[in-house]
Each structure stands twice: as C-alpha cells, then as structure tokens.
C-alpha cells in the first residue's frame, strides 16, 4: 500500500509537471519538472516513506521501462543500415569521449574542492585514490 501511495504522489507530480511545461511552454519534458517538484514536496515528512517505497520499486527495474521505445529502432532500420558503419563509429566514439571528459573534469574539480576543504576544516575523507596514482 505504501508503494501504491507513493506511485500516486509520483503520478500527481508528473501531471503537475506536464501542466507547468505546457502552460509556460518550457523546453523540458513534464517528468523532469515533476522531478524538481518532488524535491520540494519531500520537505513534507508525510510523503517520504511512500515515495521511498515507490521509487525503490520503479528504479530497481528502470531498464525494463526503456524496452518498448527501444524496440522502435526497427522502424528506422533502413536509414540506420544505409549509414550503419559510420553511425556506429560516430555514436561509440562520441559516447566514450563524453564519458571520459565528464569523468576527468568532474574528478579533477572534486579533488581540488576536497583539498581546499581539508585545508580549512576537517572534511571526511571519502575519496579512494587520494594521492592521485595514475
């Protein structure tokens, strides 16, 4: 029941998000606005346990939810196979470049921030690789 209550909360917030994006003609999808609304709504302690139950249920099988849209790829097989080799190369290389760039920049900035914190106050040390071994 707890999870069902939580699902009702999530659906209401998504609906509110859809309403807001439409009314204000925002370039974001409704569920993303719903996510921001959830961050506000969780200030009500009453909502926390139900939302936790529903979120754990939905997020533990998040992969399943991408399958129906994913199968839609078959509709575009003609174009995809026409440029198959080049598209595969472009998509793979750009994805790896994106992952590497994000990881590298974020890690460098986080370490710098942690070092600064440690210089000032006693910050808990949660990084695995403090000395930056290559």
């Amino acid at each position: 029941m707890q999870a069902l209550r939580g699902l009702a909360v999530l659906l209401l917030l998504q609906a509110a998000g859809e309403g807001i994006t439409r009314a204000l003609a925002l370039p974001f999808p409704g569920p993303v606005v719903g996510l921001l609304l959830l961050l506000l709504a969780l200030n009500l302690p009453l909502l926390r346990a139900p939302v936790a139950a529903a979120a754990n249920l939905l997020l533990s099988h998040l992969s399943l939810l991408f399958v129906p849209v994913g199968v839609g790829v078959i509709v575009h097989l003609k174009v995809l196979s026409e440029y198959a080799g080049r598209l595969a190369l472009v998509i793979a290389v750009s994805t790896w470049a994106g992952i590497a760039a994000t990881a590298w920049v974020t890690q460098a900035l986080m370490r710098r921030a942690q070092a600064a914190e440690r210089g000032g106050a006693s910050a808990p040390c949660r990084d695995v690789d403090e000395e930056g071994t290559p």
Binding site: L59, V69, G72, S94, G98, T106, L109
Partner: protein, 238 residues
Amino acid sequence: MTDVVHLWTYLASSPLFGLTATVTTYVLAHALHERLGRAPWSNPVMLSVIVLGSVLLATGTPYPVYFAGAQFVHVLLGPAVVALGWPLWQRRAELRRRALPLAVGALVGGGVASGVAVGAGWALGLPTPILLSLAPKSVTAPVAVGIAERLAGVPALAAAFTLLTGVVGASSAKYLLDAMGVRDWAVRGFALGTASHGIGAARALSVHPEAGAYAAVGLGLQVLFASFLIPLVAALFR
C-alpha cells in the same frame, strides 16, 4: 492447426501480446545478465531490444501493434523519471556542496559528446539532417526528440540514436572508467548519466546506489543544459 493459427492471430493483435512479450523477454534477458555476473556487455535493454525486434521482423508484426501492449510498461517511464528525485533528495547536502564540479563536468562532458558526434559525423560525410539528429544524442529520449525537432533534424532518428548511445554507454563505460583509473562511485555514475542518460542511469543504479544517484544528477543537468544550449550553438552555425 487452424485453431493454432486463429489463436496466434488473436494473440498477436491483442495488447496482451506486446505486454507479455516485453515483460517475459526482459525477465529472461535479466536472468541471463545475472548468470553472466552482470557483465556490462550483456545489457538487458540491449538483449531485449534485439530479441523483440527480431521477433517483430520475423513475424511481420508492425511496431504499432506491439506498442499497443508495450505502452503499459512505457507509461511508467514518466513516474520513474520523477522518482529519480528520491536518490537526489537523500544526498541533497552533498550535492549542494559539489554543485560547481557537477555543473562544469556536465557542461564539458555534454559538449564533448555532442561536439564529437556532429564533428566526426560531418568529417565522415553524413548528411545534415542526420548530423542535426545526432546532436542531442546524450539527452534522455523525449527531450532529444524535442531538440531534434527544433533543429530541423529527424525526431524519430534522434530517438534511435539516443537508444544506441544509452546502450553503448551502459555496456562499455565500466571498461573505459577502469582503464582511466576512476574509482569514485559518484564520478563513475555521473559520467554514465551525463553521456548515456536514462539507460546509463539504469545501469548505474543496478551497480551501486551512489553511482545511481549521481547518474540521475547527470541526466537532469543534461536535460537543462542541452535544451537551451544545443539550439543556441546550432543557430551560430547557420
């Protein structure tokens, strides 16, 4: 024999087919994924899409007929995206403290992913509508489709590129990040969510809760940045 044909005709055209096929295939794909020690290359989304796509093509079942049943799974994607707020809220203090590294990392990483895709595609001579559909490929599908529309790309292709990007990231990021020596779960998850949106986030969540939360942040920041910046940058090139 005709009874079997009748039964198949009935089943294949009823919404029950798409729903049953989706859930059953995913359960089997997930079981195989577990058997293989959750190896990233055995990504359950990828396996399910390959199996279901092959079945539809082999039986000549049109995608809309399949989707009539599969949509009951698909609608849950909305509340699931809202639910990504829960792991964020649990780590809100830590995230606020790290707001700057995360925002800069998302900008650089998203820019590199999109820039390399369009640049490499251009160098390889892909046509312009395809290049414009590649630009938003690291953003979650519904937003990528909207961006591609505004760029005069092909929305349906953008959705396909987004899916492929998610699968590539989810099935290979581990090896890349291991090779780079990135061991912090926060950074690993954030990179996966930034470059490979929801499918990457799903993988991150299944590996480690902290990685999952940071993947959700990465996905969210991509939505915010990409929906403003990609159309802006595209306008500069016109």
